[in-house]
């Protein structure tokens, strides 16, 4: 149900960090750390979307296009090695057409037990301007493509290039997905208000995301490693009280550059060196929360709303 006032997207209720039902993770872990490599395919000659131009320069934008392609040709393997070394599986935020273009990459991920969730068909096809039925068709395309190439169920969603519509979360729930990565309001999973079924927001991150770090904030590679450690240290401490989630979203074309991989690998090793860290996938976090904490969170929301209504 969406009962919020105008100006609020109405996706979740206000439930402050302080005083929530306690979240616990498997084996007494304090923190669930998940890594979400965005394995993307950007098109050389994409159609124009009325609301967003894919490339900054007139087509063909060979510099921007080739920069992204670096991730698949070169950067992916460096990122993979760093994750293998630290014992992390990935939860792939996948432009699903990449299954067709580079099944070799999909195979390497699948062989390691990584999860695949959808990040749309291509990163140059936005949901802006789509009808509900058009958007539903890309969700179904994603589910079919991921099942065909990996045998997995599509459980998670990160909108293509983070392009959303007001009904997107409703569609995800109707299509049976478990979680979205598009919301940045919390460090713990959140039950969302959707028109039917259940959908969770699993914390993803802009701040830990290498695109924001490098392309927006222009941090240095070693500073990226520093903020990963600081983010982890704080969430790890807080996780002693109630379990937290830390996500590190990656893009092989950025983190996989030779001058960036080593500080990143060291930061991952730092995290892996701690006790009480659940090296999870997005799906595992969503399932655990749905099974053990969803009802308590919904009840807490209802109680908070009732208290607010009678105040």
């Amino acid at each position: 149900m969406r009962t919020s006032e105008p100006g609020d997207p109405g996706l979740y209720d206000y439930l402050p960090y302080r005083g929530r039902p306690k979240v616990t993770w498997p084996n007494g872990a304090k923190i669930a750390v998940w890594i979400a490599p965005n394995i993307e395919f950007y098109e050389y000659d994409p159609p124009k979307n009325p609301q967003r131009t894919p490339w900054g320069r007139p087509l063909p934008d060979v510099l921007a296009y080739s920069h992204r392609d670096y991730g698949n040709r070169v950067g992916f393997r460096r990122m993979l090695a760093a994750m293998d070394e630290a014992g992390f599986r990935g939860s792939v935020s996948l432009n699903v057409a990449l299954c067709d273009h580079h099944p070799e990459i999909i195979r390497m991920c699948a062989d390691r037990g990584w999860e695949f969730f959808s990040h749309g068909i291509y990163n140059t096809r936005y949901a802006y301007g789509m009808s509900e039925e058009q958007e539903r068709s890309i969700i179904r395309d994603s589910a079919q493509t991921i099942r065909k190439w990996t045998g997995q169920t599509l459980d998670g969603w990160l909108a293509p290039a983070l392009s959303n519509n007001s009904w997107t979360m409703d569609l995800l729930a109707e299509e049976g997905l478990l979680y979205t990565c598009d919301l940045f309001h919390d460090d713990q999973p959140t039950p969302l208000n959707v028109r039917s079924g259940r959908l969770l927001s699993v914390p993803y991150s802009l701040e830990m995301n290498d695109t924001i770090v490098y392309n927006t904030n222009s941090y240095s590679p070693r500073h990226y490693a520093t903020i990963i450690r600081r983010q982890f240290d704080q969430l790890y401490r807080e996780g002693a009280t109630s379990g937290t989630v830390m996500c590190i979203p990656l893009h092989p074309y950025l983190v996989g550059q030779p001058h960036r991989i080593e500080p990143f690998a060291e930061a991952l090793a730092y995290i892996a060196g701690h006790e009480g860290v659940w090296r999870a996938t997005g799906r595992e976090i969503a399932r655990h929360f749905l099974d053990h904490h969803y009802d308590a969170a919904v009840a807490a929301n209802a109680a908070a709303n009732a208290a607010a209504a009678t105040a």
């Binding site: 159609p47 934008d61 510099l63 040709r73 273009h101 291509y122 001058h259």
Partner: protein, 312 residues
Amino acid sequence: MPLPDDHLAYAHRRHGMDHDLYPWSDLLDRPRVAWPEGARVALWVAPLVQWFPIDGSGKPFRAPGGLTMPFPDLRHYTNRDYGNRVGIFRLLDTMADLGIRGSVMANAAVARRYPALIREVVAAGHEIVAHGLDMEHVHHGGLPEADERAIVADALAILRDASGQAVTGWLSPGRSQSHATLGILASQGIAYACDWANDDMPFVMATPAGPIHAMPFAQETDDRTVMLDMKQTEDSWLEQVRDRFDVLYRETATGGGRVMSVPLHAWVAGVPYRIGAVREALAYCLGHEGVWAATGAEILSAFQASTAAPHE
């Protein structure tokens, strides 16, 4: 109203790339490349000399470093021209001190306006790489092919005449191309172009006029990108160049020869307070066993010789 149907049609959703310029290939799955004398890393030092006309339109987009202020933008025009008058000589001296020959990427306008500079570069044994006509003449999809062909012909004629070299390398201003650029370059004697940023090694691209090689040219440890776009210090740039080298060098143990390119804009890296970091970066690379400082043409030639040889 929904999006037009072509937004849900994917004509190029197939194995490999969504164009026919090169086949899909994972760097780590390719045959190992051997450099001359068993070198591990080919160090490619590449100073850039650029000229930004004072009356440019900046259309359809400004090349990086392009003038941004109302006409006459003297501050940026002269700041960029500093590289051609002063900065380049600091880079050339640094390379000479360290015994490095490399490739100077020159706008044809620099050769036309400052032929003495090109003579000095050539006398020092460096390669001249064509860097387009000037920084205003960007190649882009809206450029009529005949116009682009004329720009390339003009630029190459000027640079070949000024240098006395064959000039077989190309870097587009702003690393921007049209759909026709690679074919035009291949038809005019260009063997390699440095615009594409998708690899750490050379690879072949197909054009209607025959093959051309893409040469790896570090985009994200480029001096201008790191110090001006990303606003990081010269110390941080130096650290990133060293870190880049370390990883590439380490990878040669299993992956075969690698290319370490070091783009240096004369108007950025040639500034007095930055030149020390340049020297340190280059000396650091040279301080390792098996580092071969070479020109782009030499690297390409060694790459072709190695990839043509039979593999075990």
